[in-house]
């Protein structure tokens, strides 16, 4: 893809003696995973369209330490956290947006005790606010008649009590929003959390993502909406398992909005 985005870094801003409104924390998945990179780009385009003054850390960003912490390696988590706090505080960061609920949770809840207090929001919360303020407008036309079901990421929903922002954003698409039988507080995990993403599942009789994809396919959706790069992977694998990839798409909320906005 020859499409090059102009994405300002914190270093660029610093060099100009300016500061952005908000830091976009891309995260490891958003930076390296081919599928998640598309989500990153979709969000960048939306931020640019809404004329949000944002920047990324680029090569100065490093893993928040979330997978290390959930896997029990508190040492490694602390090292990552303290290094990141140094970088973030060095740039005087106040506000952070991220498209990964795991980064979101760690930055928001676990960094303050380590000297890193920022106003951290999930990208679905930012999109909702931009829409509310009229800075981002979408025509829902292309999604009319489509059925969308939203899968709650554990670390956004139960972990931080945010169930409504992604739904409010999706409502703007004029599509039919259909809830799975297990949703919101009782939503079932995709199977990736707690560092499971990076290891084989323990012995059992089923994969968690298959169980969850069944929930999703039960509502006969055209689109399964996700708000987390890891959920996205797990649900995509689940849809492939049932050989339904031709008529069921798994897309991030940001991708749906970007596509509706013709970006």
């Amino acid at each position: 893809m020859a499409e090059t985005l102009t994405v300002p870094t914190m270093a660029d801003y610093m060099a100009r003696g300016e500061a952005p409104e908000i830091l976009f924390w891309v995260g490891c998945a958003g930076s390296f995973d081919d599928r998640a990179k598309k989500i990153t780009k979709a969000l960048v385009k939306l931020l640019q369209k809404a004329e949000v003054k944002f920047a990324v850390l680029g090569t100065e960003e490093a893993c928040t330490g979330d997978p290390a912490k959930r896997a029990g390696n508190e040492f490694l988590f602390m090292m990552q956290a303290m290094m990141n706090v140094q970088v973030l505080n060095g740039y005087g960061i106040e506000k952070i947006v991220t498209a990964c609920p795991h980064c979101f949770n760690t930055l928001k809840n676990e960094y303050p005790e380590l000297g890193g207090s920022y106003d951290v929001i999930h990208h679905t919360q930012l999109l909702r606010d931009l829409m509310k303020d009229g800075k981002l407008k979408v025509e829902g036309g292309s999604f009319k008649g489509k059925r969308i079901t939203f899968h709650d990421p554990c670390y956004l929903g139960r972990g931080n009590g945010e169930y409504e922002a992604p739904r409010e954003v999706l409502e703007k698409l004029d599509a039919e929003l259909s809830e799975m039988k297990r949703c919101k507080t009782r939503g079932l995990c995709c199977g990736a959390g707690g560092a499971q993403m990076f290891k084989e599942a323990e012995k059992g009789d089923k994969e968690v993502n298959i169980e969850r994809t069944e929930d999703a396919l039960e509502v006969k959706p055209d689109i399964i909406a996700a708000g987390c790069p890891f959920c996205n992977t797990m649900m995509t694998d689940g849809v492939k398992h049932f050989e339904r990839e031709d008529n069921v798409q798994v897309l991030d909320v940001a991708e749906l909005i970007a596509s509706a906005a013709d970006l």
């Binding site: 490891c28 780009k41 490093a62 893993c63 090292m79 059992g204």
Partner: protein
Amino acid sequence: MIDYMEQVLHYLPQVLFAVALGVTSYFFYKSIARIRRNINLGRDLQLEGPTAERWKTMARVAMGQTKMVVRPVAGIMHILIYLGFILINIEVLEILLDGLLGTHRLFKPLLGKAFYSFLIGFFEFLALLVVVACVVFLYRRNVHKLKRFWKPEMKGWPAKDGNYILIIELILMSFLLIMNASDPTVDGFLISGFLKPLMPADEGTLHLIERVAWWGHILGIFAFLNYVPYSKHFHIIMAFPNTYWSNLNAKGSFNNLESVKKEVELMMDPNADPYAAPPEPDPNAAVLRFGAKDVKDLSWKQLMDSYTCTECGRCTSECPANQTGKMLSPRKIMMDTRDRLEAVGKNIDEHGPDHDDGKALLGDHISAEELWACTSCNACVQACPVNIDPLSIIMDLRRYLVMEESNAPTELNSVFTNIENNGAPWQFAQADRFNWASE
């Protein structure tokens, strides 16, 4: 002499009652002291958060049972038993006073006959609802065989315990109704009024039935009170302090280990002298492990959680790992913690405080396979009607596995290496982190 014997016989029931009450109180006190001591074996933990919010949480979750009704059938049935239990205690108070003072239906003249009849009638109505709820619960456990009551950790004592509680409650409620039905000094109560025609006409027999039911009811309550601390049913007490001490932070927020923080800070401090002698260790300080191997490494709140668990299994039935056939069951984590804590407490009683039985929570009760099945999704924490947090115990045991035993699954060890070297869980170079923008 005859007068004296008459006097003794006259006061005998009162004396017997006082002795029974004394013995009951003594054993109950001993149980509470034992459990309190055991909970205090846990690590010290300062729980922050405004007192007002703590009271509100307790009022909402424990008193208001807001999390019970998420599942309406069990929730409503449970509320019936709960209300019955609380309100019928007013009648138990009368029984206690009657027993000690040698009176009969002390409250009747005090409250006036009409109001007294209304009140007892209301209690009888509750008693009937309790009977219905207990029967439904017995049916769900034993006939309908609800899946979560038949998981492996429920075999043996836990299953029996559940049934004993329901049966004892049925017996107590029956005594209550029979007691009222066979009492000639009162009549026309809401439910027992219908039982009156079934009672024998003979005054002596009737009196005997009334006395047996009266003593049966109160001695049954005394016995039950001392059964409760050995049973999962202890939640009727622990639900209140445990919800008061609820975690008020976001569920996704895991605690940062202070011990690790200090070490890492020192490691990253460019001004730290690597050859400096370590500070004189405090000889009284307990050896602080990274994570938890045994119950003493857990906090008092985590241990309190284990005594609060009533093994309802809502956590396990919502757990994604358990639903897909993995070994992990959050309820088992809580049951194991309590079993191990009881064993540690027993060791202290029998062999003194420093006895080491060579066993631990990790390994002897909970296996690494169970711990590694957890997705940390918080479904168990959300599901618990009394705000128990099985996830925090799972995490502390994982921390021990990784930081003290270097015993993580191989794939995770590569993840650690990658994060340490490249700042990402995958093997990509840090320098390539921004390539996405120009691809």
